[in-house]
């Protein structure tokens, strides 16, 4: 039954969209949007990888563990340290359960979970709203591995992507960020005022065959890999542990998973 309906939609979609071919917003309708289920991705939607991360919060033992992770990211990416919270720029940071999973908190929940900081970063969504709204394709999803990237030289600073992101993952350079960079990393570009930026899943390190900096600094609390590869470590964890994502009901398909329980994974 559902297969029939799916095929019908594909056919109907294809015939009406002949003239419009290639608009990603309509592609969504045809492929799987109409059957919107947060649980499945369109089969064959991408032949490439889909990079994802599993965060095991129980493996963060001390505040230093969190600091090390965000420092690893922010220092190599020339993320400025701006004290004014309104102008703050952050790629990976922490917040508590009730803020990371709004509407999920409960007053009778275990207190250690309520107090636990959860690392948050760009979710590199399967269907990223930020990419859908960008008027210049300055933010785009890389076909080969699903990483949502930014072209800082094309961004016009309209900030539509910041309104569209349901995870608050994007920061804007309200002023020139360069005076606020503590230690310049000359192998990664700095940004100019007036552009948006966010976590890039360490695209520059991936291309050199390395893991993202946060993963490397996490002592195994962050696990990174390809969701399309059944034998990857992330898939192994997800098949054996209960993992949750932020706001899955919005259908954006976040690629960051959280494991809360305390025991060792496989």
């Amino acid at each position: 039954m559902s297969m029939d309906r799916r095929d019908f939609l594909k056919l109907a979609g294809a015939s009406t969209l002949v003239g419009l071919g290639g608009l990603s917003v309509f592609d969504g309708f045809v492929k799987d949007g109409a059957l919107a289920s947060q649980a499945h991705t369109a089969p064959g939607a991408s032949a490439g990888k889909r990079l994802a991360m599993v965060i095991d919060v129980s493996k963060f033992k001390s505040p230093d563990d969190y600091k090390r992770v965000s420092y690893a990211c922010h220092s190599i990416h020339n993320v400025p340290s701006i004290d004014n919270l309104k102008h703050e720029i952050k790629w990976i940071w922490t917040d508590t359960y009730e803020h990371v999973f709004p509407g999920q908190a409960d007053q009778y929940m275990a207190e250690n979970i309520m107090r636990l900081p959860f690392p948050v970063l760009c979710n590199h969504c399967a269907k990223p709203p930020c990419v859908r709204v960008c008027p210049t394709k300055a933010t785009f999803k890389r076909k080969s591995d699903g990483v949502v990237m930014m072209d800082y030289h094309r961004c016009i600073g309209c900030r539509f992507c910041m309104a569209a992101c349901p995870f608050g993952a994007r920061s804007f350079n309200w002023t020139d960020p360069r005076p606020y960079i503590r230690k310049l990393n000359t192998s990664f570009p700095t940004r100019t005022k007036g552009v948006v930026e966010k976590c890039n899943f360490c695209a520059e390190r991936l291309s050199a065959g390395l893991q993202p900096a946060c993963v490397e600094a996490s002592n195994g609390a962050l696990v990174f890999g390809d969701l399309h590869d059944p034998s990857s470590e992330v898939r192994e964890i997800l098949s054996s542990r209960y993992a949750i994502r932020r706001k899955p009901n919005l259908g954006t398909g976040p690629s960051i998973y959280y494991v809360i329980g305390g025991n060792e994974h496989a």
Partner: protein, 388 residues
């Protein structure tokens, strides 16, 4: 015809120079923003759009309202709108000019604005907004200028302009629908994620725009010998009344859905706007002014005696305009950002430079409006003198 704007009495030139002075102040502040960045505004990581985009949103409505004159005049042959219609079309030109400027001053990298055309992206609503806004600007310039030019010679408007006039009707609806879609299609912004957004936008547009037009008619009639016609103004008054009723009704629907369902995410923004949230209540005072003015305006508009009296009608128009200017030019955009996606509250209020830049943009709009209305007034007076 533009030479008509180069001659005028002393009052005309004083007004022009006041506007130019305000534009100058705005421009100097813009230079500072251009140099330092948008950090000189009150916007933040959490409230990433502010007064500029809110003003843009409000003015799209003012622009779209010209259609409320075009439909009765061209589709229903309501001849009494014969003189007022050009004022509506030129108001649209002025309003769209301000819209485009407000988007421009909001850009972090304004020198890259042509990237929108160099890399056209049809899945972005902003791309379509650029197309419909520019299209509407040109439609109204062409239609207004051509019909006025024909009037001047005492001739009927050329035939080719008719299809453009008919096209301008759905086009006016499109500019406000597309602008509503900027907001209404974003997952996770529950305050904006409402199917009635475009309808609400249109209702508020058809109230605020014609209300401003009535006030402009009163001003034009007072300072020149151009009379748009008492009956025409009364007819526009009725339009404002119906549209304002629809607008308040639609807002009521939003309140019902949010507060009867009791879904926290749907209630939060309303709570922030009308009573304050998490210790932040920057906009509460303004939102209550908007609410009170809405009620007052409805009383003044619904009772025929009050609406027919031009003094109370002008009060009604002032209250409608201010109520909707606050509701759309502030609350609607800011409310969507509070609380942020992590349910944390960051407040917002525009800074002085931000307000001065906005004032400068408004002054540009009024300069465009003044020049165009001056041409209309001079041309019509010239035509009537020729007839006699």
């Amino acid at each position: 015809m533009l030479e008509k704007a180069l001659t005028g009495n002393r009052g005309y030139w004083v007004w022009i120079f006041i506007l130019l002075a305000i534009i100058g102040v705005g421009f100097i502040n813009y230079l500072e923003q251009f140099k330092t960045g948008l950090g000189i505004t009150g916007m933040s990581r959490d409230v990433s759009w502010g007064f500029y985009i809110a003003q843009f949103t409000f003015l799209v409505g003012v622009a779209a309202s010209a259609v409320m004159l075009v439909i009765p005049y061209y589709l229903h042959n309501f001849k009494k709108f014969g003189k007022i219609i050009i004022l509506g079309e030129f108001l649209a030109v002025s309003a769209v000019s301000m819209c485009i400027l407000f988007i421009f001053v909001d850009l972090g990298q304004p020198t890259r604005i042509l990237n929108v055309m160099l890399h056209p992206t049809p899945n972005s609503i902003l791309f379509w907004d650029m197309i419909v806004l520019n299209g509407y600007l040109f439609l109204n310039i062409i239609i207004g200028w051509t019909t006025l030019g024909a009037d001047r010679k005492g001739l009927p408007a050329p035939k080719w302009v008719k299809p453009l006039i008919y096209l301008s009707i759905p086009w006016a609806v499109s500019i406000h629908t597309v602008t509503a879609f900027l907001y209404a299609g974003l997952p996770g912004r529950e305050f904006w994620l409402t199917a009635i957004m475009a309808a609400r936008f249109l209702a508020s547009a058809f109230a605020a725009g014609p209300a401003l037009l009535i006030l402009l008619c009163f001003i034009v009639r007072k300072y020149t010998r151009f009379d748009p016609g008492k009956e025409a103004i009364q007819a526009v008054g009725k339009i404002v009344a119906y549209a304002m009723i629809a607008n308040v009704f639609f807002l009521g629907l939003e309140f019902f859905t949010a507060f009867y369902s009791q879904i926290p995410g749907h209630m939060h923004s309303f709570v922030y706007l009308y009573v304050g949230l998490g210790g932040h209540s920057e906009l509460v005072f303004l939102m209550w002014i908007s609410a009170i003015f809405s009620v007052v305006s409805l009383i003044l508009l619904i009772f025929p005696k009050l609406r027919q009296n031009e003094r109370t009608l002008s009060m009604a128009c002032v209250t409608v305009f201010i109520a909707l200017w606050i509701d759309k030019g502030f609350g609607l955009v800011i409310g969507g950002f509070v609380p942020n996606p992590l349910e944390r509250v960051t407040g917002y209020f525009p800074t002085a430079p931000e307000l001065l830049i906005s004032l400068g943009v408004w002054a540009v709009g009024f300069l465009v409006l003044t020049v165009l209305y001056k041409v209309v007034v001079s041309v019509t007076q010239e035509a009537t003198t020729l007839e006699h």
